[in-house]
Symmetry: C2
Subunit: 255 residues, 2 copies
Amino acid sequence: MPPYPKVEAFKFHIESYLCDLNEQIRLASMVNYMLDAATEHAEKRGFGYKSLKEDNRAWVLSRLLIEIMEYPKNESDLTIKTWVDEVARTFTYRNFSMHDETGKAIGYARSIWAAIDMETRRPMNLMDWRPEMAEYIGQEENCPIEHPGKITPVKAGIYDSFTVKYNDVDINKHVNSVRYIEHMIDTFGLSFFKEKHIEKFEIIYLTESTFGDILTIHREERTPEEYVVEIRKGNTAVCRCLIRWKNKKSNKIIS
Amino acid sequence: MPPYPKVEAFKFHIESYLCDLNEQIRLASMVNYMLDAATEHAEKRGFGYKSLKEDNRAWVLSRLLIEIMEYPKNESDLTIKTWVDEVARTFTYRNFSMHDETGKAIGYARSIWAAIDMETRRPMNLMDWRPEMAEYIGQEENCPIEHPGKITPVKAGIYDSFTVKYNDVDINKHVNSVRYIEHMIDTFGLSFFKEKHIEKFEIIYLTESTFGDILTIHREERTPEEYVVEIRKGNTAVCRCLIRWKNKKSNKIIS
């Protein structure tokens, strides 16, 4: 038996500055909390950011797929459960389930991570390096959503562009994973957020961008509910996401 | 004796996504934590966001002055103490002191707030409305920094501009106070953050801006260490800040 349970639940309080005009948590704020939970879960079990850093390695998020049925409200508590689903040669699969104050599941997520060598930026074999991770593998909780799939490239001109600035970058001077999500979601106008919510968000991170880079945003409507947004550095796709919107149950329009 | 002490300390853990390329907390992340502390302090004592909302009133941040001697590091704990310094006819003064893991003070702040009527958007007399706030007034902790002063308007053309998007706005569809701070600090290039840190940041909020507004950023160098940055909507100043930089003690340059 490993010293910690496979699944751990983390409780977060939703402060108002994490909320949007619907008084609900923003998707990007929820992802930050998911990454907090993942960090703490891994840290405690000996394969977190700090343990990797000692060996000059780092976790890099490669893919993330989230499905949200209901966005928790301002000033409520959000519980995030997380566990390691699988460890393959160079990728690790981590799942999440999100719960409201009553314990009801309000969303699920699957994520795929690589542990890279910080010198070569190449992925490394995790099981060779941390064989004890094996003890924590295995889905004991429910994660009834599909696996991350293919997102075909966007065929569209420049929708918007931005220069990578101080508040976009992380401790490695690379654009923070969640900041890309904000820039992508920010391509949508007020009417989307009044009438709909994002029920599925899937992102694939392809390469890194850094302070001062000029990035372009490309957006393509695949169906009236589904959009693909790509961020590019020159001709190279940096990341690409699929956003699926759902009309709100009640047609109450926010003034 | 009021049921709670005048001063309360709140402890926060500095997650890596709150940190910058120097592996230190970003100023904007620190302000978010200060606002968390202020919210919780006020809420417990009966004059927080929720209590005000019941009477259709809301807190609006009018001014903020922060002086930071040292930025706490990634994965360390930050303690923020906060208390009500003074209550005047339409403004309330709240102070903060920031402490590192050893308890050493690493920064101080003063803030000025108005409680507005949400219908009229006009400030109201707080002491008439919540006379029990009087019990919590009084500086028992040290706040050895100057009071917010005058920041004269910027005389400069457009430095940059942006459209207010989804992730900029709060639950009232107004741009979040901290988001303005990010946009202002984001006018500075990489060399500033490599060689210096912000030792003083002072902001005055003048009017509100909302989803879809096009805002321009104006920046003026007052001395090589002092800059004033203004965000405008057309010809109207929305907010204005003064940023004072200090060379880092060690001249260790980050690669």
